[in-house]
């Protein structure tokens, strides 16, 4: 089958699986079987597109036309390919994990959960393969709406408040700014297609470029650029598999992916660096990186700390885009992949800890590492990858980003990146350290009632983080493949 024929399948499979899951409401085993099967199929479809894209092909399909010149268009290019691979690779793992977590915690409304999850994946894949801004916007909104029931899953007043904040910020920014920016682009450029080198060069001039860029950057609220980041910590009331795949990978990565895509294919990095319109963005991104790290230091709730860490790490990607140099763009794009692998490991571990012990605060984790060695081991590896230490994948994205700052002569930004890495060490490593080194409840002479019951979480909750931790390691050694895939987007 050729790539053009396969491409719509990538949307069709998760969408169809949502229907099948809904139809199997009464049969949990079938329902979860469908989820797993669909996720494997999707992975197969996405991977089957990879060779063609590596060979330089750009398969494009117009699903149908809204008005002349404006279609619902799917098109695969390297950046989208990388994002789709990440989402498709992590969905099967996450499904496995979800089954363990949702059953282990006896959550309600599990069918709704799996249905919304499948629709959210459809949205993420649609964003990855969007061939124009309108298509991107459509799937972007679909992702927002399909994740809302996941965030409010518990149905408590707290979850409802979080849901309001979630929907309020994401819809507010996307309709208020992003849609405006897209219509503006349409009215000046006459096209919304993503094109190498951008479509705006020569169409917009002067301060208007910076204003339009601001509309895009703040309009893409999923990138969690400060001050529009509050929805992400709020979304942590969701069950942990949601936080793991959606709020560490699919949703937030869809945000920074859109940022990258707009920078590279709508503005064009040459146009941006020639006009200097992205200078302000560097500072906003740098501020986000540092401030979010500081906030993360103050959080005792494990998921909240990880959420702020995510905000900070997303800032790296925006920073890479704002550098508007080849290295910056490649580094930022790599960061999308590397951070996804690292952060999902951390969330998996957080969820495994919760399932096994019902502990949510970092200060409660003392000594748990020795009874849950696999979970805490995976957490350590994930942390180190996010900090950016070899031999883990995260080091490459930091490397290219640093090279990017050097290329652009942005020494201040280089300093920001280095300081941030130290901050990462300061807020991530103590978690694993507490588990392994601080004597705690789980140790010998203490009263032998509850602690003795603490064991590793169910297998379905422990295997996925170990696999993703292994993934972090593999990404270090096989990063050249990723580089080869991403290099064409920054080619001048």
């Amino acid at each position: 089958m050729n790539a053009e024929a396969t491409l719509p399948l990538a949307l069709f499979i998760p969408l169809l699986s949502a229907l099948l899951i809904a139809a199997n409401d009464e049969r949990p085993d079938w329902r979860e079987g469908v989820t797993l099967l669909a996720s494997m199929l999707l992975l197969g479809v996405v991977l089957s597109l990879l060779p063609a894209v590596l060979a330089g092909a750009r398969p494009t399909v117009d699903l149908f036309q809204f008005v002349p010149g404006l279609s619902l268009r799917l098109s695969v290019e390297p950046l989208g390919m990388a994002f789709a691979c990440v989402a498709a690779l992590l969905w099967p793992l996450n499904s496995l994990y979800s089954i363990g977590y949702m059953r282990g915690n006896q959550e309600q409304h599990q069918t709704r959960f799996y249905v919304c999850f499948a629709i959210a994946i459809t949205g993420a894949i649609g964003i990855a393969f969007a061939g124009n801004l309108l298509t991107l916007f459509i799937f972007y909104e679909a992702l927002t709406f399909s994740t809302y029931p996941l965030v409010t899953h518990k149905g408590t007043p707290e979850a409802m408040r979080a849901g309001r904040l979630y929907l309020g910020i994401l819809l507010g920014t996307s309709i208020g700014f992003l849609l405006l920016a897209i219509v503006w682009t349409w009215s000046v450029a006459g096209t919304l297609d993503f094109a190498p080198g951008g479509i705006l060069a020569g169409k917009v001039e002067g301060p208007a470029v910076a204003v339009l860029l601001a509309l895009y950057m703040f309009g893409i609220g999923k990138a969690a650029l400060m001050p529009f980041h509050r929805w992400l910590p709020a979304a942590m009331v969701a069950p942990t598999p949601v936080s793991a795949l959606l709020h560490a990978v699919a949703v937030v990565k869809a945000g920074v992916f859109a940022v990258m895509k707009v920078t590279v294919y709508v503005f064009g990095i040459d146009f941006l660096s020639a006009t200097g319109s992205s200078q302000w963005l560097l500072w906003v991104a740098a501020l986000t990186v540092l401030l979010a790290s500081f906030v993360a230091l103050t959080q005792d709730n494990l998921k909240a700390r990880l959420a702020y860490s995510t905000i900070s790490q997303l800032g790296y990607v925006v920073l890479g885009a704002a550098l508007a140099t080849s290295m910056g763009v490649i580094g930022g794009s790599m960061q999308i992949v590397m951070h996804a692998m690292g952060k999902i490991t951390l969330f998996f571990c957080a969820g495994a800890i919760y399932t096994a012990t019902h502990k949510t605060e970092i200060s409660q984790l003392d000594g748990l590492g020795r009874v849950m060695p696999f979970t805490f081991g995976a957490f350590l590896i994930g942390s180190l990858s996010i900090v950016g230490l070899p031999p883990l994948g995260g080091s490459w994205s930091k490397w290219y980003l640093l090279a990017g700052t050097a290329d652009a002569g942005q020494w201040a930004m280089m300093a920001v990146l280095l300081i941030s890495s130290l901050l990462n060490v300061a807020y991530l490593l103590p978690v694993a350290a507490r588990g392994f080194f601080v004597p705690g409840l789980a140790d010998g002479p203490a009263v032998d009632d509850a602690p003795a019951a603490i064991r590793e979480a169910p297998l379905a909750c422990v295997v996925p983080p170990c696999l993703t931790a292994l993934g972090c390691l593999l990404l270090f050694f096989f990063a050249d493949g990723l580089y080869a895939l991403l290099a064409p987007i920054a080619a001048r």
Partner: protein
């Protein structure tokens, strides 16, 4: 037969009205009304096809030649509006049987009168749209208005009576203004045929009489279409009318009034006179903006969901008027396509609310607690309508909003574009209040609610799916609207 379609469009529902009154209560009368309204829809489809294929159709009533006799004239614009009215009329009539049997304040033997009033209202609205004669517009306007006062007054809540009375007073003032306007034009030109008027007005355009006629017509029609600040009759009328009536009127009556406005501004007076000599856009623009904003804000604070949607209608009418005041092809396309899209979304929403009140008694927020789980299909339709109202992509509502924002940016009117988007966010707030109540609040103790019957759900879902379909395939709701806009502005393709 085909040649007489324009006459049949009006005559068939007109004849069925007394027929309904003669039939005994029960299925037969409903079947008569339903088959008539679907027949009217079929005729509207045929007419639109004919107009799209062969250009405007002119039909001389009783074969009296044009300026003297009554001419029915169908071009792209009114064929399109006819389609909207007939489509909604047919779907809502299908929906209406159970509502009439259970939810209106009429004893059973009087129920056929509902169908009579409905058919008369449909006749009136179709007549206003199809006729090419200014006085005929007034006649049909009175037919539709009088029957709609009746329809509103038979709502279950006794406040429906005062609401209908309020509407009666305001509507009569509006109709009087329109009549005065038409009378003044007749005095100046000696003709009532719209085409003829258009040819003769330029010669006398600089007289105070014509200016006054223009003002009377504008204010009169604005009253009927509930342009802010002349909208005060609308929220009560929509809130207390039976839900089938609200769905029908909200989706058609104001649309037809907007059509009349377009017809008079652009065809009869001409865009040059309306917007350059009289500078009407300077009046319409601020009224539209204030209307959109204030009605959206007020909607946020309503606890009666029907009333909330009624205020939202006032805001949506503001969008249509805003599109007109842009005086550009894109702006008019947005306006005209919004006639269609708004009919779809409000029809869906009011029918879904009809399902809700059929089961829980009233469309109040507190009564809707927990029905997301007990009435999943009803709330599903409501969600689709709500998303379309917000203007989420892949729904019909997105399409018109898109053109409106593009139109505003073409003119360089940044604040207008921003305001349109901000008010979409207000729509998110008021739609979401319902969603939260339906899906997150626990149902009251002891309340047992079942899903609405299929007879109500099928029509509601038909329109809900139309919201999705026309969000994807825009060849009808935008393609034809664009042709109509180009025709009105005299831009050749």
């Amino acid at each position: 037969m085909i040649a007489h379609l324009p006459a049949l469009q009006v005559v068939i529902p007109l004849i069925s009205a007394p027929l309904c009154a003669l039939l005994p209560a029960g299925r037969a009368v409903w079947l008569t009304a339903v088959s008539t309204s679907w027949l009217a829809f079929l005729i509207a489809v045929l007419l639109l096809n004919q107009v799209l294929a062969h250009g405007p159709v002119s039909y001389l009533m009783g074969s009296w030649p044009a300026p003297w006799g009554i001419e029915y004239r169908v071009d792209v614009l009114n064929a399109y509006v006819l389609l909207i009215v007939a489509m909604i009329g047919a779907i809502v009539m299908t929906f209406g049987r159970l509502i009439v049997e259970r939810r209106i304040r009429l004893p059973e033997h009087k129920q056929p009168w509902f169908y009579t009033a409905y058919m008369l209202c449909l006749t009136g609205l179709l007549g206003i749209t199809i006729t090419g004669d200014a006085f005929n517009v007034f006649v049909f306007l009175e037919i539709s208005s009088l029957s709609s006062y009746v329809l509103i007054s038979i709502g279950r809540d006794r406040r429906a009576l005062t609401a209908a009375y309020q509407y009666l007073i305001m509507g009569t003032i509006g109709a009087t203004f329109i009549l005065i306007g038409i009378g003044l034009l007749y005095v100046m030109t000696g003709t009532l045929n719209m085409g003829d008027l258009a040819a003769r007005i330029p010669a006398v355009a600089d007289t105070r009489t014509v200016h006054a006629a223009f003002a009377f017509l504008t204010v009169g029609v604005s009253l009927k279409l509930a342009l802010f600040p002349l909208h005060l009759w609308l929220p009560n009328a929509y809130a207390y009318a039976p839900s089938a009536v609200t769905a029908f009127l909200a989706a058609t009556a104001t649309k037809v009034a907007v059509y009349v406005l377009l017809r008079f501004f652009f065809t009869v007076f001409g865009a040059g006179f309306s917007f350059e000599t009289m500078e009407l856009d300077r009046i319409l623009l601020p009224l539209a903006l204030v209307g959109i904003f204030s009605a959206s804000v007020v909607a946020v604070f309503q606890t009666n969901v029907k009333r909330m949607l009624a205020y939202s209608s006032v805001a949506q009418i503001g969008y249509m008027i805003l599109g007109i005041s842009l005086v550009s092809v894109t702006g008019l396309t947005a306006s005209i396509s919004h006639l269609f899209n708004h009919a779809l979304m409000k029809g869906t929403l009011f029918m879904a609310l009809g399902c809700v009140s059929f089961r829980v008694g009233a469309a109040k927020l507190e009564r809707m607690a927990g029905i997301g789980r007990t009435m999943p299909w009803t709330m599903g339709a409501f969600m689709i309508g709500g998303l379309s109202l917000i203007g989420v992509p892949l729904t019909a509502g997105f399409v018109s909003k898109w053109y409106l924002v593009v139109g505003a940016l073409e003119k360089g009117w940044w604040p207008v574009a921003v305001l349109v988007l901000i008010t979409s966010l207000l729509a998110v707030i008021y739609v979401w209040r319902v969603v939260e109540a339906a899906y997150f609040k626990p149902a009251p103790e002891g309340q047992i609610v079942r899903e609405a019957p299929l007879a109500l759900l099928v029509p509601a879902w038909t329109l809900a799916l139309a919201n999705l379909y026309f969000g994807l395939d825009t060849s009808l709701n935008v393609g034809v609207a664009q042709q109509a806009a180009e025709m009105l502005l005299g831009v050749s393709q």
